[in-house]
Assembly symmetry: C2
Homo-oligomer: 695 residues x 2
C-alpha cells in the first residue's frame, strides 16, 4: 500500500487545509477550496556533500524562468520512496526521510459552545492554523546544511510574500493575507524567489526578497550547524478577514480573536507546545480502540476530511456552524448532517442544535402533494431544504441551492427524506443530549413533522401503510429523490423506497418516544406509534419470500437488491431505543425480515464487489463509502453479522479503494464507481465510521 496519499491537516471551523502527501504538484495550503491547492510543496535538506538537495516528492520539475540568474543552481531531487516512511494518525502525521523528520500537528477536539464558552477557550480551539515541526539531524555531518519548508503559488492569486512586516524572531512566507508559514526558530530565514532553485542557489541572500509577479515561490530556509540536531517549528496559518458570505453577510468566528494573519501566527507559535501535546493526545481517540489497521486509516482519513470542510461563522453575533459538502461546497446539506450526527453528537452536540435551529427557522417550508400523475391538491406539510447555500453563498429563506423543479431524478427535491432527516436528528439531539428545554420548545414543530410525514403516506388515514406515496408540489409534476441522487432508481427514487421506509419507521418511533413524555401529546404519540407499526407491517408484507429480499422500490418495477434497507436501524440503536431492535420484541418480525434481506443480498455478485468491497445496490456500480461504513455498523453491531465479509475483508477492500492511484489526490471520497472516486470527492461524510468506536 502506498503512503503517498493526500491527507487533510485542517484547523477546526476554518474551511481550510494544508493538504499534502500525494506525489507531484498536488497539495499545499488551501483556503475555501473544493480540491487541494495544486501547489508545489518543498520539504527537504541539502545533501551531506552539498552537491544537491533532497526533498519529499511533493513537487514537479518545472520550467524555471531565468534559471541561474542569482547563482549556480543545484538540483533538487526526491528522496527514494523506500527511504521515506509515514505515520498517519488522527492528530499527527509524521514523515521521515534521510536526516529529516517532518510532523504536522492538528488536534481533534470538541469545540466549546460559542454561546456560553469564554473567548479564551474558543480562541484556543478555533485558531486557524496547524503546527509543523521539522527535525534535522546533522549530527553526523561536519558541514552546515540547509533545510527548507516552502511552497509556490500561481500568478492568479494574491502575491506570495515574505513576512518582513513582522519583527524577529518571526520569519514567514505566505500568500497575501490568506495563508502563511511562520517560524520563530533561530537560524530560520524567509525567502521569496522565482523558484525553489533560485532560493537555494542565491549567492546574495538579499535576493531572497524578490517579489515580482514571477516570484511565486516562498520558503523558510533553515541553517543547521555542523554536528547538531536541530528542531524548527512552524505555524501554518489560514485567514480570511471580514465578510465572507454573500446573500447574508457573515464572517469567520475566529475573526473576533484574530484581526490579521500575523496574530494567528504569533498565537500559534506562543502555544506551540500545548497544541502539539493536544494533537498527540487526539491520536488516542482511535489508537485506544480495537480497530483493524484498515479501519483506523479510514476513520482517521475521514475525520480529517470532515474538519477541512467545516466553517464556524459569525452571523449577526450568533454562531453559524457550516459543514461544506466537500468538492461541491454546499452548506449544511441535511442528508449529510444526519450522517455526521454520530460524530457530532459525540464531539460537539451544540453544532447539531445549531444546524437544526437554522433549518427550522430559515430553511423549512410548507408544500402540497400529488399522487403519481395527479395534481398538487393534497395537503402536505412542513419539510426542510436540502441545504443552506453553496460556496459561501447563503441561500434565500425556504430554498436550497440544490433542489430544482419539474424533475424526476438528479437535482429534484428531497422533501420527504429531509423531513425524515430533520426529525431524526432533532429527536436524537433532544434524547441524547437530554436537552429538555429545547425538546419542549420544539414540540409544536415535532407535531407538524408527524402530520407532514403522515400526509406524505396518504391523505386518507385508512390507506396509510407507512410508505411514502405522494410527491411534493415543490417538484411541480415531478417526483422526489433521495440522498443517493446519482445512483439508479434502486436508491434514487424516494417514493416506496425501502431505504426511506426504514428511516421513516425510525422517525415515527423517535417521535413516539418524545411525545409519550408529554400528556398533551399523547394522541400524537399514538399516531406516531400507529405509523411505525404500519410501516413495520408493510415491510414484512413486501418481503419477497420466494427470493428472500425486499425489492428496493416496493410494489414498483424495480427488483434491485440494496443493502441500505437496514440503514435506518442505526437510529433506534443510537437513541438508546434498543428494545425496538429486539428480534423478539414489538418489531421483531420486521427485524427478522431485514436480517433475512441482508443475508440474501450480501453476496458476491449481488451486493459484494469481487474485491470484497460492499456494493450498496445490486443494480449500480456506484457505492458510497460513508454509507457502507454506516451499514457495516448496522450489520455487525445491530444485526449481529460479525464475520470477515462484514469486517476485515471489506475494510481492506475499502481502504484499498482510497489508496488507488486515481483517488490519492482527493484524500477521502465518498462515491466510488467500482472503487474509483468519481463524485463526492474531498468529502466530509466519512465520519459515519466514528460509529465503529462503539462496537
Amino acid at each position: 500500500m502506498t503512503i503517498f496519499y493526500n491527507g487533510f491537516h485542517a484547523p477546526i471551523g476554518a474551511h481550510s487545509s494544508f493538504t499534502f502527501g500525494c506525489k507531484g504538484k498536488k497539495g499545499g495550503l488551501g483556503l475555501e477550496l473544493w480540491r487541494p491547492a495544486d501547489q508545489n510543496v518543498y520539504i527537504g535538506l541539502e545533501s551531506k556533500d552539498g552537491k544537491c538537495f533532497e526533498a519529499l516528492p511533493f513537487f514537479e520539475p518545472e520550467e524555471i524562468p531565468f534559471e541561474g540568474m542569482f547563482g549556480n543552481p543545484r538540483d533538487i531531487t526526491c528522496f527514494k520512496d523506500k527511504d521515506i516512511s509515514r505515520e498517519y494518525k488522527l492528530g499527527t502525521d509524521k514523515w521521515k526521510a534521510g536526516d529529516i523528520e517532518f510532523t504536522v500537528y492538528s488536534p481533534v477536539e470538541s469545540i466549546p459552545d460559542p454561546e456560553s464558552a469564554s473567548d479564551m477557550d474558543l480562541k484556543k480551539i478555533l485558531v486557524p492554523s496547524v503546527c509543523v515541526e521539522l527535525v534535522v539531524d546533522n549530527s553526523k555531518c561536519d558541514r552546515e546544511r540547509i533545510a527548507f519548508f516552502g511552497h509556490d503559488t500561481s500568478r492568479d492569486t494574491d502575491s506570495m510574500r515574505i513576512f518582513d512586516n513582522m519583527e524577529r524572531p518571526y520569519q514567514g512566507i505566505g500568500i497575501g493575507n490568506s495563508t502563511a508559514i511562520v517560524t520563530d526558530s533561530k537560524n530560520a530565514f524567509h525567502a521569496q524567489q522565482m523558484s525553489m532553485k533560485h532560493i537555494l542557489s542565491a549567492v546574495h541572500e538579499e535576493n531572497w526578497t524578490f517579489a515580482l509577479f514571477l516570484a511565486n515561490t516562498g520558503s523558510i530556509v533553515c541553517k543547521v550547524p555542523p554536528k547538531t540536531k536541530v528542531e524548527f517549528r512552524f505555524a501554518v496559518c489560514f485567514f480570511r478577514p471580514g465578510m465572507v458570505t454573500s446573500g447574508e453577510a457573515t464572517s469567520y468566528w475566529y475573526y473576533r480573536y484574530f484581526r490579521d494573519i500575523e496574530s494567528v501566527a504569533r498565537y500559534t507559535l506562543e502555544n506551540f507546545e500545548d497544541i502539539k501535546a493536544r494533537a498527540v493526545k487526539s491520536n488516542s481517540i482511535i489508537d485506544d480502540n480495537k480497530l483493524n489497521d484498515a479501519q483506523k486509516f479510514q476513520l482517521c482519513h475521514a475525520v480529517r476530511s470532515y474538519y477541512g470542510s467545516t466553517q464556524l461563522l459569525d452571523w449577526d453575533n450568533r454562531p453559524f456552524w457550516v459543514v461544506n459538502e466537500g468538492e461541491y461546497r454546499m452548506m449544511n446539506t441535511l442528508d449529510l448532517t444526519i450522517d455526521h450526527l454520530f460524530f457530532e453528537m459525540s464531539m460537539n452536540p451544540w453544532v447539531v442544535k445549531n444546524t437544526l435551529n437554522i433549518f427550522a427557522s430559515r430553511y423549512s417550508y410548507e408544500d402540497k402533494l400529488h399522487l403519481p400523475g395527479g395534481t398538487n391538491s393534497h395537503p402536505g406539510g412542513i419539510s426542510f431544504c436540502h441545504d443552506m447555500g453553496s460556496r459561501n453563498r447563503i441561500s434565500r429563506p425556504q430554498y436550497s441551492t440544490y433542489e430544482a423543479y419539474g424533475l424526476k431524478g438528479l437535482f429534484s427535491h428531497m422533501t420527504h427524506e429531509q423531513l425524515v432527516n430533520w426529525t431524526i436528528c432533532a429527536t436524537a439531539y433532544a434524547i441524547k443530549n437530554k436537552d429538555k428545554a429545547w425538546e419542549a420548545e420544539k414540540l409544536p414543530l415535532f407535531r407538524k413533522c408527524l402530520k407532514s410525514l403522515m400526509n406524505r403516506d396518504h391523505p386518507d388515514d385508512e390507506k396509510r401503510t407507512g410508505i411514502m406515496k405522494l410527491d411534493s408540489s415543490r417538484t411541480i409534476d415531478g417526483s422526489e429523490i433521495t440522498t443517493y441522487d446519482s445512483l439508479d432508481t434502486s436508491l434514487g427514487q424516494a417514493r416506496s423506497n425501502i431505504y426511506i421506509v426504514i428511516k421513516g419507521w425510525a422517525a415515527y418511533s423517535a417521535l413516539e418516544k418524545i411525545f409519550s413524555n408529554y400528556q398533551e401529546y399523547r394522541e400524537d404519540a399514538q399516531m406516531a406509534e400507529k405509523q411505525a407499526s404500519r410501516t413495520a407491517d408493510s415491510v414484512c408484507t413486501f418481503m419477497d419470500t420466494k427470493e428472500g429480499y425486499i425489492h428496493a422500490i416496493m410494489g414498483e418495477d424495480c427488483n434491485s437488491q440494496i443493502i441500505p434497507a437496514i440503514e435506518g436501524l442505526v437510529f433506534p440503536h443510537f437513541m438508546e431505543m434498543r428494545e425496538l431492535l429486539d428480534e423478539k420484541g414489538k418489531y421483531g418480525k420486521m427485524i427478522q425480515t431485514l436480517k433475512t434481506h441482508f443475508k440474501t443480498v450480501f453476496k458476491k455478485g449481488v451486493c459484494i464487489f469481487p474485491d470484497g468491497g460492499w456494493k450498496l445496490s445490486s443494480s449500480a456500480e456506484n457505492s458510497w463509502l460513508s454509507k457502507i461504513y454506516l451499514n457495516q455498523f448496522v450489520a455487525r453491531k445491530i444485526l449481529g453479522f460479525k464475520n470477515d465479509d462484514t469486517g476485515i475483508k471489506a475494510d481492506q477492500a475499502h481502504a484499498g479503494w482510497l489508496l488507488k492511484e486515481e483517488n490519492l489526490y482527493w484524500a477521502w471520497s465518498d462515491q466510488m464507481f467500482t472503487g474509483i472516486a468519481k463524485e463526492s470527492k474531498y468529502y466530509p461524510r466519512g465520519v459515519t465510521s466514528f460509529l465503529w468506536l462503539n462496537e
Copy 2:
C-alpha cells in the same frame, strides 16, 4: 480594421473592469486581475421567429452538462460580423446588432482630493461600477422576445448567485460579493443555471434559481412585449470589502461609502441618468480635438486601460493612490508615474502629490556608489524605490518589489533613473500646480536630490560632465538599468545612456528653477545650472558628427541609434520652461544636436519599422507604445518634425499593432515586439498620449 478588441470599462480607483469586445471567452467582470476575466459574456436577443437566439460573439461554444434537462434547448448563434457596429469612445462604448443596442457608460473625470472633498462628491466619482444600457427594438415583431445580458464564471471562484436578497425592482446576478450585474428595469428577471442555454430553455422559471456548483452562468433575462421598443439598464458593479493589502493593511476608499455590493448597485441605478450624462460628456475630451482617428482610438484605449489599473486605498485614514502596473500589478512603479504625469497633472494633480509624498517618506533610501569594477566607497545619496509593492502587497519601507541584487541587466536597480524621475515629477508638480507650501516643505529634499545626482556623476566635481558614471551600492557589484529593462543595452543600461542624460538635464534645469526662487538656495541653483550646462555640453561633445547621431551609450561600445534621446525634452516644455528648448537659446546647441540626431535615426530600417511604426532603438525589435507617443509629441511639438512619418502614417501603424489578432485580448499593451505585445500587456502607461491634446 476589426472592431472586436477588448476594451476596459472601468470604474475609477477600483482596480476592476468589465473588459470585453474580443471574440470568444475572452472578457467579463474582473476584480484585481492581471488580465481579462476569461468569462463567456452573453448579450443577445431571441430571433423574431423564436427559433433561436442571436448574440454578440463574446462566448465560446462549450460542452453543456445535462443539456436539455430543463427544457428543449434552442441554439445561441452569433450575429454576423457585418451586422455588428461599434462606437468606441472615451466614456461610452456602443454596440449595435440586429434589434439591439448595447452601450457601456464609464465617465472619465477628475477625482476630488480625498483630504478636502466632501464624502458626497467622492462617492459620486468613486462608486465601483459602470452603467450599461440595452435597448431592444421589438416594434416590428408581434411576439414577445427575450433579451439577455449575463456571463459565466468558473468553479474556482466564489459562487455565481442571483441577488434574491434584494427586493424588487432590483434583480441581479453576480459572483459572491465581488461582482454584480443589477437592474431595476421592469420585465427583467435574474436567472442562474448550468449554461445560458439552460436559462433560455427553462420550461419552469423556478429553475432560474439553480445554484449548484455546476450552475456557473448568471444572466438578467429581459422580456420585451410585442410591438414595443424597450430600454433596460444595468449597474455593473465590483466590490472588495475590508482589508485588501498585505504587509500593511488598507481597504478601498469606496468601502467608506459602500458596505456591500448591493448598495453599490442601488446607488448606481439611482444615479444612472447622471452617470450616463457624465460619461457622454467625457467623450468631448477627445472628440473636441483635432486628432486623427488612429490617435483618438489609441488615446481612448489607453485612458481606459489606465483606469482599470487604478486603486484608491484607505491607509490609516489617509488616501493612498495606486496605479497598478498592468499585467505585472506592481504598485506605483515610479518610472511609470513619470509617464502618467501629463495625464494626472491634468486630471488629478493631488494623486501626483500623494505618490511623491509616499515615495519620499517610505520609499526613499540612501546608498553608496561604485565606479565600474570598483568598490562602493564613494558617497551616494538619496534615491527612490522602483515601486511600492506588487499585487496588493505593500512592500517594506525603503525597498521595492522589483529591484534585485548583484545584477547588470533585467531586475537590477534603477537608482539613478528613479532619482531623476522623482525629481522631475516633484518639480513639475510644484511648478504646474503652484503648490508653494509643498515646494517649500520639500526644499531640503530637493537639495538632497541635487547632491545625490551630482555624486552619481562623479565624486570629484572637476570630473563631472552631467553624465551618470557610478552605480549604486544597491546593485552590490552590478550596474543599474533603466525603465527600458527588457530592451537591449541601448536603452537598458543606465550609465552613460543618452536617454538618462537628457532626463538628467531636465531634472537639473527644473531644480535650478525651483531653487532660484529662494535666497538660501542660490548656491544650489547655481550648482544645478552648472550640471545642466555640463550635461548639454557633453551631449554636443558626444555627437558623432560623421554619423550624425549620438551613440546610445556615450563613450562605450554601443552604437545603437535611439529615438528616446529626445524624450527628456518634454519636461521643460511641460513645466513652462520653454526658453530652454529654444534653438537659439542657452541650450540651443544641444537642441540643434538632438534635432540632427533625430533626423538621422528617424529612418526606415533604423528607427522606423517597415510598416511605418516607430522603432525606439535601431538594435532592438522591442518598441514601447507609451514611449513612442511621448517621443512623437517631442518630435512634433518641440522639435517641429510635423509630417506624415511622425504623424498619420505612424499613428495608423501603431493603431494597427493594437488591432493585430494576437493583441486584441490585451486591450492596450506597451512593449511591442515587431508589433506583437509580448510584455507590459493590459497596461496603464499609454496615457502619455494625453499630451497630444496639447499639440
